[in-house]
Symmetry: C2
């Protein structure tokens, strides 16, 4: 049975999943890169490995048994409004790290973009449920990773489609930006989380109760 | 050298150290008791012990080498304004768990109250620095525990007097109440925290850099 899973999504101690002012140079907004220092030091990202190996295990697990990805348009790129002439193909170069069908939520239609390595970006204009159905079909029995950003995860939480959610809580304060858990009902329907600490972050994993 | 230490102070995942509407029945405000379920199950509080023993160790450590306590008036009791006729002596019965001089910040003078078991409540009306000085003298070389609540801790953080701060982050959302880390500068001057997870909470300990 295909699950919709949030995996390795980083939030600050004060709850922000991204800073303000996303730009081409700052894909996660001002100070947002500080949310990902723990991740970029892992071997998967080409780093030396996390100090105790725990973050490496979580990052690696985020790519196992995943047959499709769903993401919001802001995670796909900085373009707003109509796509225009610019041939934006994501932040990840010619060979993105997904290697499977990847569904981008947008209000603006766009032909699919086939990348190297098995990633094809599909642009979904008819809503989050449609994206979920298409991703479920594409995943062929594997799970779907819900990439982000904050607004996309909130929308799927609000319709109860998220099966499990793994957040990496980074012990820094951003003070502004997009706050993931801004309402108390967003954890309704999940049991108490599993808690695992590395030397750098706290991994919290909620599963549907 | 006497340190001023925040120990075992519980905050929700969305950062609240207490809920709203503190009353005699709800000393921590609406839902605030949920912040302390992890603590009351420890042996120190007369519970069965925490599932993995980790929370027990943290709770026990919170009473070691402490020679004085400072707390805000709201932590001491629900009385507001003038003390009046009511002989309030704290939430903790005739033998409070402090067993040392305990300094209560207030705008309203009150004679010291000597309790059983070594706790004497002293009421300090001339500010947080004065309370710190009096507590330092009383601690006689041991450390001072800064009890809370949120506003009291914030005031001491803002003048840079806190040497280390241990928060127990409880993976629940309160959505309203008193938010401890509501400004990004409140962690300035501390290094990255030590992170220890139990099965129920995350223990974060910052020390002066």
């Amino acid at each position: 049975m295909t699950k919709l899973r949030v995996i390795n999504f980083a939030v600050s101690l004060d709850g922000y999943g991204a800073g303000v002012d996303q730009t081409l140079d700052d894909p996660l907004g001002t100070d947002g890169e500080r949310l990902h220092e723990w991740a970029v030091q892992t071997k998967w990202f080409g780093g030396p490995g996390s100090p105790d190996g725990i973050d490496d295990r979580f990052i690696d697990a985020g790519f196992e048994s995943i047959g499709a990805t769903i993401m919001g348009r802001n995670m796909y790129g900085p373009v707003r409004g109509e796509w225009g002439e610019d041939m934006w193909t994501g932040w990840w170069g010619s060979n993105p790290p997904y290697h499977h069908p990847t569904f981008v939520l947008t209000h603006h239609a766009h032909d699919p973009i086939e990348m190297e390595g098995g990633t094809t970006f599909h642009f979904v204009t008819d809503g989050i449920e449609s994206a979920f159905e298409q991703a479920t079909a594409a995943a062929a029995g594997q799970d779907i990773r819900l990439g982000g950003g904050v607004s996309t995860i909130q929308q799927y939480l609000d319709v109860g489609l998220v099966d499990d959610m793994h957040l990496a809580v980074v012990p820094i304060l951003l003070g502004a930006g997009e706050r993931l858990l801004d309402r108390t009902d967003r954890l309704d329907g999940f049991g108490p989380p599993e808690i695992v600490a590395s030397t750098t972050v706290t991994h919290l994993t909620w599963r549907k109760a």
